[in-house]
């Protein structure tokens, strides 16, 4: 037991040091305050706009479940994934090879650490942010169910990762399990009743037991299925570099081709770019339907979707840089400015068309008028160009650092909100769209693109100098 305590303490310390080192040192300590402030403002704004408290609480549980899924993935897929995200890193969870500790036990402690760490650092301030909407006496229960929801997401990922160590049979079982849940939901079975959210809605012994069972079952599956000696086979690939060169000789830019290969060879290939933009489409659709049905506003789908889908610039740029290490170029005759130019070219080839394609699908699906469509298109392209420039200006080639650096993230949030909020408001209140207003929105899109270009142009020389300090 003392060994477990020592390992757990080391893991918690390690997690804190990892975050505080990666994401702004002591500024990371302000992260919970930032979460509470942003969460509180969001809850207040939604409440003021007429959104039901139950809807906001349900949305928070969904977001926390997704975060749990993602956290489990990063923690457990192994050293390569960690290296891709964090550089050369060795975590305590990987010490079974060098210490007399069982891998299964280490993973159990790792999960315990994650639940405790994020429950305090992220979920406690998130629960506190609901103070404007809920009676104070309900907040402890909300914290508990949010933490339990995070655990559910974490356990689901762990179970899938554990099953994946059994190769094809394990993956089939995982797919069948996920399919069964989806089928049950489609068949109208009360799937939500077996989640922590149901416990929050109707506290009681039955709902508590129902909420407790899924994570415990998933943990049992993980413990049973996990094969600590599993080694995935080495992956091979035909030479795609020359295929790219042949495909478009005019793009014979080595860093550009490398960037495209990084995206296509990493897990999910080009589909992950499409999928991450698709999630934004779903969020946009949710917002539009919320505005129409709950708040009673007549929405301009073109302007609304075009504005929100401008945010795809950040996720795409993240994919274009996540698998790259700037030190790769430090030993080659490649100027830092050329690396940024290649990223911009890759963004133009991969990011802009993805955002525009999703925009076209969503706007046409929602019945945008030609004028609305045109204005939304200009905003979609303009906001993407602006956000690309803003991201480069704030984070250079490592946009990942945004996520937990409180100051950077606040600056980014502000930089996004300044152009996005006004155009979103227009999209929600200005129907039907007049020709002069449509023209103004098109001009706004062009201006945003210009600002993005200026931000990019000023940022590159600065990052170029900083790379050699």
């Amino acid at each position: 037991m003392s060994a477990d305590r020592a390992v757990l303490a080391a893991m918690v310390r390690e997690e804190w040091r990892l975050h505080s080192r990666l994401f702004g040192g002591r500024r990371f300590a302000a992260f919970p305050v930032f979460v509470a402030l942003v969460g509180g403002l969001t809850a207040w704004a939604l409440g003021t706009a007429g959104t039901g408290t139950a809807t906001v609480v349900a949305g928070a549980h969904v977001l926390v479940a997704l975060f749990g899924l993602q956290t489990g993935t990063v923690g457990l897929v192994g050293r390569d994934a960690m290296r891709g995200l964090l550089g050369e890193t060795t975590l305590v969870v990987f010490s079974a090879h060098t210490l007399p500790l069982r891998q299964r036990r280490l993973l159990g402690l790792f999960l315990l650490k994650d639940v405790g760490y994020y429950a305090v650092l992220l979920l406690l301030p998130l629960a506190a942010a609901f103070a404007p909407l809920l009676p104070l006496a309900r907040l402890p229960l909300l914290w508990l169910t949010l933490a339990w929801t995070f655990t559910l997401g974490l356990c689901a990922t762990v179970a899938v990762v554990a099953l994946a160590t059994r190769d094809r049979p394990g993956k089939v079982v995982a797919a069948l399990g996920a399919g069964a849940v989806v089928a049950a939901a489609l068949a109208g079975l009360p799937v939500v009743a077996a989640t922590p959210y149901a416990l929050f809605v109707a506290p009681g012994f039955t709902s508590a037991v129902a909420a407790a069972l899924p994570p415990l079952c998933l943990l049992c599956v993980a413990a049973f299925a996990y094969d600590p000696e599993h080694e995935p086979p080495a992956r091979t690939a035909d030479n795609a570099y020359r295929a790219w060169q042949r495909r478009v000789p005019a793009w014979d830019d080595p860093v550009f081709v490398k960037t495209m290969l990084d995206v296509s060879h990493s897990a999910g290939g080009y589909w992950k770019v499409l999928l991450s933009a698709g999630i934004l489409v779903a969020v946009s659709a949710f917002l539009v339907s919320l505005a129409e049905s709950v708040v009673g506003l007549g929405v301009l789908p073109g302007v609304a979707f075009g504005s929100v889908l401008g945010l795809t610039a950040f996720t795409t740029y993240n994919w274009l840089t996540q698998f790259d290490d700037p030190t790769t170029y430090a030993t080659l005759p490649v100027d830092t400015a050329a690396v940024f130019d290649a990223k911009r070219r890759a963004f133009a080839v991969l990011g802009l068309p993805t955002g525009v394609a999703w925009y076209a699908v969503a706007a046409l699906w929602q019945g945008a008028t030609p004028l609305d469509f045109l204005a939304g298109l200009a905003l979609c392209v303009g906001l993407q160009a602006y956000l690309f420039g803003l991201t480069v200006a704030l984070a250079g080639l490592q946009p990942n650092e945004f996520l937990f650096d409180t100051v950077l993230f606040a600056a980014f949030t502000f930089g996004v909100a300044v152009p996005l909020v006004p155009v979103l408001v227009v999209g929600f209140v200005a129907a039907p769209l007049s020709t002069p207003l449509a023209g103004a929105l098109v001009v706004a899109g062009l201006v945003l693109a210009g600002v993005g270009h200026v931000l990019y142009g000023r940022a590159v020389p600065r990052w170029r100098e900083r790379a050699r300090e």
């Binding site: 992956r235 080595p254 490398k258 290969l261 990084d262 990493s266 698998f323 030993t331 005759p333």
Partner: protein, 290 residues
């Protein structure tokens, strides 16, 4: 003619001084080793000389190019093998070499021919289409060695060249470096492995706390061993080493070899004074001359 010249290079990272006025010359055609304990400033020296870092003070010239003013120009001319660097995870070695070849304006036929030669020499031909992230550390090191030499440069900078390699490949790499030097090229090697430096280098410079304190020709040390010189110059606690080895002696003869280190006094000003006159080597150590 010198391939590398530095004068009073200084570099600090916050409160930490990595280089405190490093001055050195490496003549063309020499296999030069920079030897020092961890944190002595070896990697920082390479990073400055290859234009990756800007020094706080001092000057440098590499093949006649100033790495501060023209970092890309320097890297066009030289090859660099950094310590602990891996090839890009989501490329195969073959794709990585095509990438490096494109950056260096090599045509595809040249890249293919050189890759085949190096893969045969280092014994990883079967792994050319395996994703780099799935290669062992040793195989990744072989890929990085090939990338450093792909454009047949006149000068290579190598940081700990034999790390992660098995003994057979270590010998192969040593032979490759000697052949490369024999063809008239220059090797600047950084290591903390004294045996590697003694076995491989024409001349060795010892750095301590960011300064070059002496240079030696291993072949001309006579009875004295490079280890002895190194321990003395870096100020190691040789008594402790003796104790740790049970009194059998790590070969540290602190008193006996003082006479041969005639240059000690002049080292105080940096390495400029530590020239052929102070080296105990048999031939004139022209490389160190300033």
């Amino acid at each position: 003619m010198n391939a590398i010249t530095t004068e009073g290079l200084r570099k600090s990272y916050g409160d930490l001084t990595a280089l405190a006025g490093l001055t050195l010359d490496v003549p063309a055609g020499e296999l030069f080793g920079l030897l020092g304990p961890n944190g002595a400033g070896k990697s920082t020296t390479i990073r400055i000389l290859t234009g990756q870092l800007r020094p706080d003070a001092g000057t440098a010239s590499v093949l006649g190019v100033d790495p501060v003013d023209d970092p890309v120009g320097v890297r066009e001319r030289v090859g660099v093998l950094p310590e602990q660097e891996s090839p890009p995870s989501f490329m195969t070695p073959r794709e990585y070499f095509d990438f490096v070849g494109s950056v260096r304006d090599l045509d595809a036929e040249t890249v293919d021919a050189r890759v085949e030669t190096w893969a045969d020499r280092l014994g990883y031909g079967a792994k050319l289409d395996t994703m780099n992230t799935d290669l062992s550390r040793g195989q990744q090191q072989k890929v990085m060695i090939t990338a450093a030499f792909l454009h047949d440069p006149d000068l290579v900078f190598i940081d700990e060249p034999l790390a992660n390699l098995d003994p057979i490949v270590q010998e192969t790499v040593k032979r490759v470096l000697r052949d490369y030097r024999d063809d008239g090229n220059t090797v600047f090697l950084s290591t903390h492995d004294i045996d590697v430096a003694a076995d491989l280098c024409d001349r060795v410079g010892i750095v301590r706390e960011g300064e070059l304190v002496t240079t030696r020709r291993p072949a001309g040390l006579g009875e004295e061993r490079l280890l002895d010189v190194f321990l003395r110059e870096v100020g190691a606690d040789t008594d402790a080493l003796d104790d740790a080895s049970g009194g059998a002696g790590a070969g540290v003869e602190t008193g006996a070899d003082e006479g041969s280190d005639a240059g000690e006094g002049s080292d105080a000003d940096g390495a400029t004074g530590h020239t052929e006159g102070t080296d105990a080597g048999p031939g004139p150590d022209t490389g160190a001359g300033r």
